[in-house]
């Protein structure tokens, strides 16, 4: 008699597990506000969302990926990117409902592996740190905003023509930082906000006047929920949180 019972228990367990897998999430009282944002904003936006009274669903990706998703009709109420060119592109696609507003700024730094000493941002200083065959990591200037700002900065400093052949171009700025944090390379050109909590250390600040201002633009998506405007105001008022996470206030135009 024991066997049929055991079989029955097994069958119930399997059916129960199946039901649990395919059951959707419980129906929420309020539909969450959906925010699509650039990956580099994650630590700050996660915190800012918890200060909002209501559910917020945050989806992160590279600016280009996020912009294409929103243009293809992803269920987003608000979009926050790391680059104004992608936001302009979204506007051109007719995907935005309101004006574009900056919510934060950022700055570039040279980062080194854990325990690296500070250096002076000159050709000699960088060459000494890299050695004869060393290379440094940065975002790909073609496709990564941080890489484009980084190339501008190195050009302004007169270092790009010497250093470009030693650049390891990563598909996003966080991948470049990961190479540095693991010690695969001695230097990386990354956002200051990214360096925190990775083990990598800032070894030199890049002057902000060497490149276009780094701005994070936000906008309401066409067909968004009515709360989207209030959440955008909440973002613009959250400057202290952004600053605590290593971002800059919105640069004065």
């Amino acid at each position: 008699m024991a066997r049929p019972i055991r079989f029955d228990l097994t069958r119930r367990a399997v059916l129960g597990a199946g039901a649990a897998l395919f059951a959707g999430p419980g129906r929420a009282q309020v539909a969450p506000l959906s925010v699509f944002a650039a990956a580099s904003l994650k630590p700050a936006l996660d915190e800012i969302a918890t200060d909002w009274d209501g559910p917020v669903a945050l989806s992160y990706g590279g600016s280009g990926t996020v912009a294409r998703q929103v243009a293809s009709g992803a269920p987003a109420d608000l979009v926050v990117l790391a680059a104004t060119d992608w936001m302009d592109w979204l506007g051109g696609q007719g995907a935005l409902a309101g004006s574009v507003q900056a919510v934060a700024g950022n700055r570039l730094v040279l980062a080194g592996p854990p325990g690296a000493a500070a250096l002076t941002l000159t050709g000699a200083g960088i060459a000494a740190r890299l050695g004869p065959a060393g290379r440094f990591a940065m975002g790909d200037p073609i496709s990564v905003p941080a890489g484009r700002y980084g190339q501008q900065a190195l050009e302004t400093l007169g270092l790009w023509s010497d250093l470009r052949r030693r650049a390891i171009l990563a598909e996003n700025v966080r991948a470049a930082l990961a190479y540095v944090a693991r010690g695969d390379v001695d230097l990386g050109l990354v956002y200051r906000s990214d360096v925190r909590g990775t083990g990598a250390v800032e070894v030199a600040a890049v002057p902000t006047n060497t490149h276009q201002p780094i701005i994070y633009p936000a906008a309401i998506v066409r067909g968004a929920s009515p709360q989207a405007g209030a959440f955008l105001a909440h973002l613009r008022a959250a400057t202290p949180v952004f600053v605590r996470h290593g971002f800059d206030p919105v640069p004065a135009a």
Binding site: G64, T65, R68, I142, S143, V144, I168, A170, E171, D184
Partner: protein, 230 residues
């Protein structure tokens, strides 16, 4: 004619070089492993089979990360190679290694199936007539499994040509050095208004993939016919 920016042509050239080198380098080892798996009777054969199949079932990013841990200058193998100037991380040779690793299981599978289909009596007959094992292999086994080797090389090449996840993790995306065609497609996806070069690159990728299969399908019966002595 497809109108592409020069960096797209660079990516295509690099992809062809990387895939060709990967395929040719894999072939001897793939032949040997396929033989061992098809005919070997030893402890640990199942384990070898599992290891060979790993790149096929693991997420490509994991394979790339494993290669980076091994071959970066802080890794056990990279620490030996980098001082000699033979480092693979972030270089085109590393892209070829990643492509070879990813294509390897497909190559081994095709060759192994061909070996298992060979009638051992043919080889035994040659041996009884006084042929050395090496001569038996060159004159009897090799012609019989040639179509399988060809199919394996084609599959391995196509897989190497389309490899993205392991490559970008292990060697990043450096123009002219490690930016293969799939990496270039990924980069252009992140550029607003780059849809024209994107379409050209996608067309090339599709054309090469289909072309590889067509070439293989055209060659295989002809090789098989020659083997059969028709």
């Amino acid at each position: 004619m497809i109108d592409l920016p020069p960096e797209a042509w660079d990516a295509l050239r690099l992809s062809l070089r990387v895939s060709t080198v990967a395929t040719l380098l894999s072939l001897p080892l793939a032949l040997w492993v396929a033989h061992v798996l098809a005919r070997g009777r030893f402890r640990g054969r199942g384990l070898l089979d599992a290891v060979v199949h790993l790149p096929l079932v693991l997420p490509p990013v994991v394979t790339g990360y494993a290669l980076l841990l091994l071959f970066s200058r802080t890794g056990p193998v990279g620490a030996l190679l980098e001082p000699l100037g033979l480092g693979l991380a972030f270089r085109w040779t590393g892209a070829a290694l990643a492509a070879a690793v990813m294509g390897f299981p497909l190559m081994v599978r095709a060759i192994r199936l061909a070996i298992e289909a060979v009638d051992p009596k043919l080889e035994e007959a040659a041996a009884t007539l006084g042929a050395s094992p090496a001569r038996v292999w060159v004159t009897v086994t090799l012609p019989l499994i040639a179509p399988g080797i060809l199919a394996g090389m084609t599959l391995g090449f196509a897989k190497a040509f389309g490899e993205f996840g392991a490559t970008i993790t292990f060697v990043a995306s450096i123009p002219g050095e490690t930016r293969t065609l799939p990496s270039a497609i990924y980069a252009f996806l992140q550029v607003p208004g780059a849809d024209a070069p994107l379409r050209g690159l996608v067309l090339i990728a599709v054309a090469v993939a289909i072309g590889a299969v067509l070439v293989s399908n055209w060659l295989a019966p002809r090789v098989a016919a020659r083997v059969a002595g028709r």
